[in-house]
């Protein structure tokens, strides 16, 4: 599935997500729900900065896969799977488990290979119209 398609589905199924971006671990944007590119780039930068800041909590330990910053006006949720990252801003006090599930689903779907188009079945050739008895009668 295309990244933009995965984000469009995310916004459709989750009423809590305000905006979202798919990017790589360096912040290079693959798709964004923002109308202007600058806002998408800024959210991707925020995601990368949050992951980097969170990594300092356990500097020599496990890799950060999720950061959820809950603020009064909304939340920023970042999910990382290897080199792929999805980040979203949400409404205030969202159901975090649900938002995380939706983000993980969108991230996984964005990585799916697009399905090859099925070969179209050839429709059987139409037989030439048979002459009706009426036509024979008329002639």
């Amino acid at each position: 599935m295309e990244p933009a398609e995965a984000l469009a589905d995310l916004l459709e199924i989750s009423s809590h997500v305000v905006a979202a971006v798919l990017c790589d671990a360096n912040g290079a944007v693959a798709a964004s729900t923002h109308a202007d590119d600058a806002a998408g780039v800024a959210l991707a930068r925020t995601a990368v900065d949050l992951l980097a800041a969170a990594a300092t909590l356990r500097s020599s330990g496990p890799t950060v896969t999720k950061v959820e910053a809950s603020l009064v006006d909304g939340s920023v949720v970042v999910v990382r799977d290897g080199e792929r990252v999805i980040a979203a801003t949400t409404v205030a006090d969202p159901p975090s488990a649900l938002v995380l599930y939706d983000l993980r689903t969108a991230l996984a779907r964005s990585a799916e290979e697009p399905k090859p188009a099925k070969p179209r079945r050839r429709s059987p050739r139409k037989k030439p119209a048979e002459q009706t008895e009426d036509a024979d009668v008329a002639s």
Binding site: L50, S70, D73
Partner: protein, 63 residues
């Protein structure tokens, strides 16, 4: 005023006060970080680490 009325008024005032206080209460800010070993840590606003992460996130929410 009867004793029963005083108790009723007091209970009503206590209920209204509780509702007002609950509405005034701001949702607390926090950060939850998850790791690939399935561990996670939640930091409440006020700690140095939480405030550092919240400061990074805040502009994105206000945008």
């Amino acid at each position: 005023m009867s004793r029963r009325s005083v108790i009723a008024v007091g209970a009503a005032l206590a209920g209204v006060t509780a509702i007002v206080l609950r509405r005034r209460r701001k949702p607390h800010e926090r950060v939850t970080v998850g790791f690939d070993d399935s561990s996670s840590v939640t930091l409440e606003a006020g700690s140095a680490d939480a405030d550092r992460l919240l400061a990074v996130a805040r502009p994105a929410v206000q945008r």
